[in-house]
Structure formats: structure tokens, C-alpha cells
């Protein structure tokens, strides 16, 4: 490949289709590599681990697997002669010195491009709270809103939220040393847009044929409804503080209950913003749009898509459903469904356990039979040695050898 190498660093933001892009890139990585584009890493979460390493972030014990992960990824980047894509949404929150370390590690003479996908704040704020709930937080919705709207941004929660969601600031941190045309802002289409529009936008930035690398299965990732989110939040209050280990929470709560069960309940009310916060978010979005227009970045989509739909727009959920005071009947219905799911899973695990016990018993029986045979052989030899001098000599040699062996062990 001629010309300078190119590295595209997709730094976020969360809840803007990043997992979708990562799925496509990872599942097609062999074809992409053959076409000259590297999506490095042997495992699906290689870029996530690299981001943990770069930012020295702990993540429920996963950080132990992240030691040296960024340097390993950067080594692959430097060794590749063509285009490389790195992607993880938590990179958005990297500090300026972490950004410097990251960019410096990609090698000399390389064209670095920063990609940030962004969605309007009125959709992002509720999505971030739901993400918090899915990661064990028991914080109420209003408390969360108070924290993110506090101008002082006190505390870790507000810092994290704005660290990954404040579009002009994220792009300033990552793109400060780059020409603006190498900073790409991909806007997430409004609801009702063609389903593949976001992917086509990503593909145009990555230089891919969107049709050639479209995911084989239509990926559906519906958000939780209001009663379902309220249920998980209440569950968190009961299973945190040592009741459920992180790995068990990931498996049973996040994967089984949230992703496989409650996300499928699409009939319950969707989460939005209360009117006061909606107005606040809309005002803030205007300042962002104005600031971004002056930066000269490559906007893929339309900056106007960062402007939230007004409260009276038909796409708005209508009356605000408050997850801090959910409809208890709806919540009970969701709770019954989780109980059924967990019972079914318990029954499945009990069946697996029963099968494993049977397998173990069978192995024990075989072992006993083998032991019995060897014991019978040795007893026969001992009896023979009582009558036969050669056998007695052989037994003595065996015992001395066994003794030496035992000592040296």
C-alpha cells in the first residue's frame, strides 16, 4: 500500500452504535485484512482491554487481563503497512496526556484520524442512566439527573458522563494536534431513518463498502423500558455489597435478565427526560452545535441531528414515565418474568450438574476398577515371591526403586 499509513481511532461515544461497528469489524477481520485494513487483536475485547490499560481503569477485575494491552495493540498497529482501525467507546474519556501517549505509540509518519459518533443529549442522558443501572448502580433517576446537570460536575458519575459525552470537549482532547479534516464526527440519525444509514456513515469514514461488510444478522439492541430498568435498579440494591460476585452479575443479571429477557419487553413505556431537563439539554445542545460548526471537522451526517426533537414532536414518548415511581403492576409483571427465566436457568443448570455427576461417577468407577486390578496383580506377585526366589528378588528390587523414587519426589 502506497502513501502514509493511516490509523483511525474510533473513541466513542457510548450508546451511539459503537458495539455494532466493533461487531462488524471483528467478524470480518480476515476479509478486511486481506483488503489491507487491520482490526487488531485476537479477542473481541482486545480494544476494551487496551483502553483500560491506557487509562489505568479498573473494571470489576477485568483489568488484570489488561496489563500491557495497549502496547500490544500499538505494536500490531506499527507493524501493519496499511490502514488500521481501533475502536472503543470508553476512549472518549481519556485525558490529554493519555491521548498523547496513545497517539505517540502509533508510530511515526502515520496519518491519525479520530472518529467520534454522537447522538443528541435527550437520547443519551437516559441511555447513560440505564447503562449505569446495568453496571450495578442503584442510583435513582432524579439523583442521576441532578448530578449530570450540576455545573460543578462534582463526583465520579458526572465526570464520567461528561468525559464520554461532551462532544466538543472529547474532540478537543483527541483532535487538538490534528488537522480538523482528520477529525470525523459521525452523527446518529434520528429515529425513523433507514436502519442501515448509521452503518453507511461509519463505512464511509472507514473507507469500506457498506454492502460488502454488512452484518449477516440484523442486530437488535432495544433499550430497557421504564419498569424493567426500575426492577434492575431495585435488584442492584439487594445484590451489591458482596451478595453477587461481578462475574455472576455479568452472567445472570446483565446477560440473562437484561439482554436476553427484559430487553425483549418492548411494550412497556420508554425512558425519556422530564420536561425541565429536556429544556436544559436542548439549550446545551445549541451551544455544542454552534461550537462544532466553527471547528471545521469532517461531519458525517448532519450537526442538526444533535439537536433534540422538541417536547411536542410526535417521536417524543409523551407523558414522562418516572422510573423512580414506576407503575408497580408493570414492575411486578417484569419481576415475574425474571423469576420464570431464572427458574428455567436453574433447571437447566441442575440438569447439567446431574449429567456432570453421572460422568464423574463413571470415571470414579473406572478408576476403582483399574486400582482393583493393579492391587490384585501386586498381591499375586507378593504371594509368588513367598515361594519363588527370583520373584522375591524382583520384588525387593521394585521396593527399593519405589522407595528411592518416593524420597526423591
Amino acid at each position: 500500500m502506497n502513501g502514509p499509513r493511516k490509523v483511525l481511532v474510533h473513541v466513542g461515544a457510548p450508546k451511539t452504535g459503537t458495539s455494532y461497528v466493533q461487531d462488524v469489524l471483528f467478524s470480518h477481520r480476515d476479509e478486511l485484512a486481506a483488503a489491507g485494513l487491520l482490526y487488531p487483536g485476537e479477542r473481541f475485547d482486545a480494544h476494551f482491554l487496551a483502553a483500560l490499560d491506557l487509562m489505568e481503569l479498573t473494571w470489576g477485575g477485568l483489568e488484570r487481563e489488561a496489563v500491557g494491552a495497549w502496547d500490544r495493540l500499538a505494536e500490531e498497529v506499527r507493524a501493519w503497512p496499511g490502514t488500521v482501525v481501533l475502536s472503543h467507546e470508553i476512549l472518549a474519556t481519556a485525558s490529554r496526556s493519555q491521548v498523547r501517549r496513545a497517539l505517540a505509540s502509533l508510530g511515526d509518519g502515520v496519518d491519525v484520524h479520530i472518529v467520534l459518533s454522537a447522538r443528541d443529549l435527550v437520547r443519551q442522558i437516559p441511555a447513560e442512566w440505564q447503562e449505569n443501572v446495568k453496571h450495578r448502580r442503584a442510583l435513582g433517576y432524579r439523583e442521576f439527573l441532578d448530578k449530570v446537570t450540576d455545573p460543578q460536575r462534582r463526583g465520579q458519575l458526572a465526570s464520567w458522563f461528561w468525559g464520554v459525552q461532551e462532544v466538543p470537549e472529547v474532540l478537543d482532547r483527541w483532535g487538538a494536534t490534528l488537522p480538523p479534516q482528520q477529525v470525523h464526527l459521525v452523527t446518529v440519525p434520528r429515529p425513523g431513518a433507514p436502519r442501515d444509514l448509521l452503518w453507511r456513515r461509519f463505512a464511509s469514514v472507514l473507507g469500506l463498502d457498506p454492502a460488502a461488510y454488512a452484518p449477516e444478522v440484523e442486530r437488535a439492541n432495544p433499550s430497557l423500558g421504564v419498569p424493567e430498568t426500575a426492577l434492575i435498579r431495585r435488584l442492584n440494591e439487594r445484590v451489591n455489597h458482596g451478595v453477587l460476585a461481578n462475574e455472576d452479575y455479568r452472567r445472570f443479571v446483565r446477560e440473562l435478565l437484561v439482554h436476553q429477557t427484559l430487553s425483549a419487553r418492548t411494550g412497556s413505556p420508554r425512558l425519556g427526560l422530564p420536561p425541565d431537563v429536556h429544556t436544559w439539554a436542548a439549550d446545551l445542545s445549541e451551544t455544542w452545535i454552534a461550537a462544532l460548526r466553527t471547528r471545521g471537522y469532517d461531519v458525517v451526517g448532519d450537526l442538526d441531528e444533535l439537536r433534540p426533537e422538541p417536547l411536542d414532536h410526535p417521536s417524543h414518548p409523551g407523558t414522562f414515565a418516572d422510573p423512580d415511581a414506576p407503575d408497580e403492576a408493570d414492575l411486578a409483571d417484569a419481576a415475574v418474568e425474571t423469576v420464570v427465566t431464572l427458574l428455567a436457568e436453574s433447571a437447566r443448570l441442575a440438569a447439567v450438574e446431574g449429567q456432570l455427576r453421572e460422568d464423574l461417577d463413571a470415571v470414579h468407577r473406572e478408576l476403582e476398577q483399574t486400582r482393583g486390578l493393579w492391587f490384585r496383580v501386586k498381591r499375586r506377585l507378593v504371594h509368588t515371591a513367598d515361594r519363588n526366589t527370583a520373584a522375591a528378588w524382583g520384588l525387593a528390587v521394585y521396593r527399593r526403586a519405589r522407595g528411592r523414587s518416593s524420597r526423591s519426589a
Partner: protein, 445 residues
Amino acid sequence: MTPAGPTGPEAARQVAWAWVDHLRAGGTTPWRDFRSGHRTDLVPDRAPGPAPDRADVSRGRLPGAAQLELARLLAERAANQPDPDPDARGALIDRALERSGPGRGLLELPLDLVGDLAGNLAGKPTDRAGAPATDPADVPAEELVRVGVGLLVAELLRAGAQAGSNRNRRRRPFSGSFLLGGAPTTTAAVRAALADAGHLGGGRSPEVVLLAPPLEQMLGQVWSARVQRGAPVSWTDFVGRWSRQVALPPSADLSALARSWAERVGAGRVHVVADPDPLRTAADLLGIRLRAPGRASTPDLLPLPGAAVDLLRRVNQVLAVRVPEDQQAAFRRVVSASWASGSRGMPADAGEPGIVVPSRHRRWVEEQSARLVKELRRGGYPVHGDLDRITARQLGPQRPRRREVLDLVLDVVLEVAAATDMTGQSGQSTQRTQRTQRTSGGRHG
């Protein structure tokens, strides 16, 4: 005499850069004082050598408020140290200014260049992006600790791993068969002292000695022991988790320990030591004559105060993502040994770690300590001291004080940086290791 304040952003930035150079030269004037006095007269003629990474400098981007305050505090603390090396000190300040805080914390706080103006802006969040401008003196201690711990880990990695000083102690002939259990750091101290006297313990049918300080103190010691072995858990989380369990942590559940050993050696050979001088009592009941104090070896677990344990658990968090698991202990040892060295060390019976159970868990600890006393009495074990001491309420803060943790971070950073600089940078860490091993008796004694 006092000139007027800066009239524009550029003038304010120039004053801010002058303050940065002031800090790099070892200055300690707070930003508010420096700014209000236009103290450009404090800017040195010659700033120390170039920073390792001055990319932000060339773009004119100032370091964050947290980094600046940490640098100022380091300079303040270093000013009290003997024989400062200005170049090395300047390089350390540069590293502090460059280092981001690890993990989750506040966003990078921009320096409040013009005082009141930033206060006004803070009330209008839609007028600007990014975190609110902040006077370094107003950076929360928690954030300073976070940034300081990041710097500390960087300094530890720069110094290189310190090899352990496993000392082979000689067992006295015919030394008795015994086993120590109970409060972990007290047990470690007693075990080390007995081992120094040639009594290593063990044996097939040992005399079992369970050391039983007040339960609250014992819980603190269990927390300390876990952190010294690599756990990142905070004191409040540790107590919170155990208060929801049916049982106490194994090494603090003396009745379970006593019961278990009684089944193997008989209740008459399980001794419960519940007095303020566990070493003397344990030695007496085992018939061991202790060596004169002065050359005691370092126990496997050190009696650290709450602030030192809290610092170590924060270091553990960063080490977990920076250093392979099997190499972390060497770095931890440097931090805990730093506490034990010099005048900061404390006697083993000083009630360490000196923090108490948060008030919401008070009832739980009272119930558990009462249960322990009742079950130990019922077990019929020989008791040395007063069992009711287990229920004694401790005095101290309910969590480590952040300011103490911050002071400790600063001290250890300066100590590690100075040791590394003295031995000719990280490339010669092996020599440092060897020298440290040779002198470890005096250093930790």
C-alpha cells in the same frame, strides 16, 4: 506597590506560566497569592532543564489544577528535606505536572486564571465546555490523592521492582511445637519475634495460640492484611461486605478457629491471648526467651495505620492494571516499607490500624464480638488476659483521613524518587535492590 491584575486572558496565561516555572524551581506560593501579586519577580532566571514532554507547553496548554496543586505540595514538602538536588526536584515536578490521575475521578480541571470570573462562569454551564475552572487550592483532597497515587505508581515503576528480603532464620534445636493464629498483623509481628529467637513454630501436635485483640481492631488488621496481599478494597466496603455475611472473616472468627483446632489437639492446648502485650504473653506461655529488641526482623505483614493501608489499596488498584500479578508484591513492599522506615513507624501494640467500624455497622460488630466472647468461654480454652477485651470499643476515625493519605503519598513519592535518582536512574535498579537488601536490617529494624 502591588500592580493591577491581568487585564486579558493572554496576560493571565503569562502569569500562570510564570507560576508553573516558579513551582518547577521549587517555589511553594499558592496560585491565589501568586496571581494577586503578579509575582513575576519570583520567576527564576533559569528554570530547571527541559521537561520530558513539553508538547502542551509548546501549544500553550497549562497543566491541570490538580496536577499544579500536587506539584506545589510536593515542593512544599521537599523544602523540608536535606540536600535537595534542584534538577532532580524540577524533573519530579515536571513528571507530576504531566501525569494524569489513574482510573475514575474528576475531569481535568483547568486552572482558574482570573479568579472571580471563573466563579461566574460556573453558574452558566452552557457558556463553556469542559470542567469548571478551579483554583488549585480548591481541588478536593480525594482528587489530589488520586493524581498523587498515579504519580507514585509511575515513580515505583521508574525505580523498578525491589526484590524481597526473605531471611532464612535458623531453627533452634528442640524448639517447641506451636501455632499462632488470630489477628493477622499482630500474629505476624509475634511470629517474627519468636522466629528471631529461633522458634519457628509448626509441628504435628502444636500448642495453639490465638491472639485476640478487640474485634474492631482485629477487623482492621484483616483489612490491612488483605490490602498488603494485593486487595484494592476500601475499609468501608470491606466492613460493609462482611456485615452482610453470616460469618466473620476466617482469621477474625476466633471461636471457629479455636473449635477447629480443639478437635485436632484438644481444647486444653488452644490458648486465647486477650491482653495488651500479646508477644510477652505468647512467649511466656510457650516458654520462649525473647531476644533483646533492636535487631527484630520485618514481619510478613506490617502494622500499618489506616492511612497507609488506604494508600496501599489505592496503589493496588493501579498496579492491577499496570503490572503482572506475580510482580506486584515487590512494588507494594516499597510502599509499606516506606511507612515502616524512619520515624513514622509505630509500635505493634498501638492499636493499629487505628480506625473504627462505621457507625451503621456498630451493632453488627457488637453482636459479633459478644458472640465470640460467649463461644470462647463456652469452649473451655485456657484464656490469658480478659476475654471481655474483645468487645472493647476502639477510638479513631471511621475511615482513613484523606489529608493523612495525601501527606503519605507526598512523602513516599519524594522518598522513592530520591532513592531512584540517588542510584542513577531506573537502569541501575538492580544495584539499588542489592544495596537495599544489604541494609534492610537497619532500615526496617
